[in-house]
Symmetry: C2
Subunit: 277 residues, 2 copies
């Protein structure tokens, strides 16, 4: 395995690390970041996954959210993948909401995307195997969270693997990608025009048939410029019915990392409580 | 006055704002950022200045340090200037440690720098006048902190204006600019080869003759790649003698914003305690 440590910074007592590796699933070089708490008490450490939004790399969350203070406080490791396959030989698009930086956490079936755009399997299988070797004293427990496109990613990965992920949380997630411009553009490109194939990648569809979804916690800013068009919650909440979904609207907050930072402690606490059960 | 709000984000209950204005002192358009806490209790609010390091703008600190949580917790406003004059018509250098992004918080006397590079007067006079209009219920109390080149800036501004600033703190400051490569390059360029003129911009010189310096709190990471060559503390501490300097070395931490974020609460607490006297 071609795993190479390319950055390490002491942060709140733990270590913020960045790695490069060759991904067999994505057929390209990738970077990811991982935070390891100090674990001074030598306990078993659970792992929270963070999936970022459109245009991000693994750096945005590690540099802008301030999560490390909380990961150290609550003694959890945090794994931060990139948002798409990367490289000059990897298919791309001129738009910022398609191609590199916009993998949408699906496995693509359409050319020229199918060769590299398999972020779902990359995260759920390949990166998970690597993460388990990097967290010292790993408890084996996992949960998942994300922002915007990454909120969509966290929901579909968490619901599709309900026995594995103990909790799902999201900031401003794309809850119904099959019904909104960002999702329709990505899904028709990566998955093709047959909308039946979109259902397995749409949280609003998945939650309808889920009988064992992990608890879900969502924070949505009411000053988020994308809220009405891209992030509407109505269909998701209707389909979730009585399942364990907490949907928190916050006045005055927008789509930025300032919102993520402001409510990060609520999210990490939510994960920690469910990981410890 | 040409003050224009160009960004505003709710953050931890307060507002992270960004402004553009024309600076008479610098003879160019400038941006700065300011954080205003919620002030729910309608108290008088003090102001802490943050000065950034080489290559930074006002965005680095507002996006990477997580200070907003603490500014809201301790109810202080925080003012973040840019690090130099800016613009195509402003003198510059190819090096990242000279010219734009590297104003060194001095008033330049040498051509072609003297026209624009007057960051000291810009901050102490022009920007201070603006800040006082932007902080609602401003107490009039000020303190100052910074990182690396900005730590140097905080020290010289704080010591030279000891009656005005209640506290000074710094992360990895350039304590003796006249004696280290970064400072020698900048001072010989901006101030000329006569080293006598450097003394009024060098904290190690200023602290020697200061009889009323505000209390000073410094955090230095021991894994900081610039520590030995650029940031050595020996001469400063010798000259400070018995004055109120706390110099904290922290094992394993480097020159990055991960260090700043990790120890920000210690610094904000230090400022708050001295502002409240």
């Amino acid at each position: 395995m071609s795993l190479k440590l390319i950055g390490k910074h002491r942060s709140f007592g733990g270590e913020q690390c960045k790695y490069r590796h060759y991904s067999e699933v994505l057929q390209c070089d990738m970077t990811f970041s991982i935070y390891l708490p100090s674990n001074k008490e030598k306990k078993k450490i659970p792992l929270i996954w963070w999936l970022s939004g459109l245009t991000c790399t693994d750096d945005n969350f590690s540099q802008k959210s301030g999560f490390q203070r909380l990961a150290e406080k609550y003694q959890v490791a945090v794994m931060i993948p990139d948002t798409s396959p990367r490289g000059e030989h990897v298919a791309d698009d001129e738009g910022w909401d398609l191609g590199q930086g916009a993998g949408f956490y699906v496995n693509a079936t359409q050319d020229p995307w199918a060769k590299h755009y398999n972020m779902y399997t990359y995260i759920v299988d390949e990166l998970a195997a690597i993460a388990s070797t990097l967290v010292p004293n790993f408890s084996g427990e996992e949960s998942i969270m994300g922002h915007s496109m990454g909120g969509h990613g966290a929901l579909i990965i968490g619901i599709k693997n309900a026995a594995r992920f103990k909790a799902i949380s999201a900031f401003a997630p794309i809850l119904s990608p099959s019904q909104v411009p960002w999702g329709i553009k990505a899904f028709s490109t990566y998955l093709g025009e047959d909308k039946a194939s979109w259902k397995e990648w749409d949280a609003t569809e998945l939650i309808k048939n889920s009988i064992d979804s992990p608890p879900i916690y969502i924070t949505q800013g009411l000053e988020d410029q994308f809220y009405e068009i891209q992030l509407n919650e109505d269909n998701f909440l209707k389909n979730a019915n009585t399942k364990m979904v907490t949907y928190q609207k916050v006045e005055g907050y927008d789509h930025s990392y300032f919102t993520i930072a402001s409510f990060m402690e609520d999210h990490i606490k939510f994960h920690k409580n469910n990981l410890n059960k």
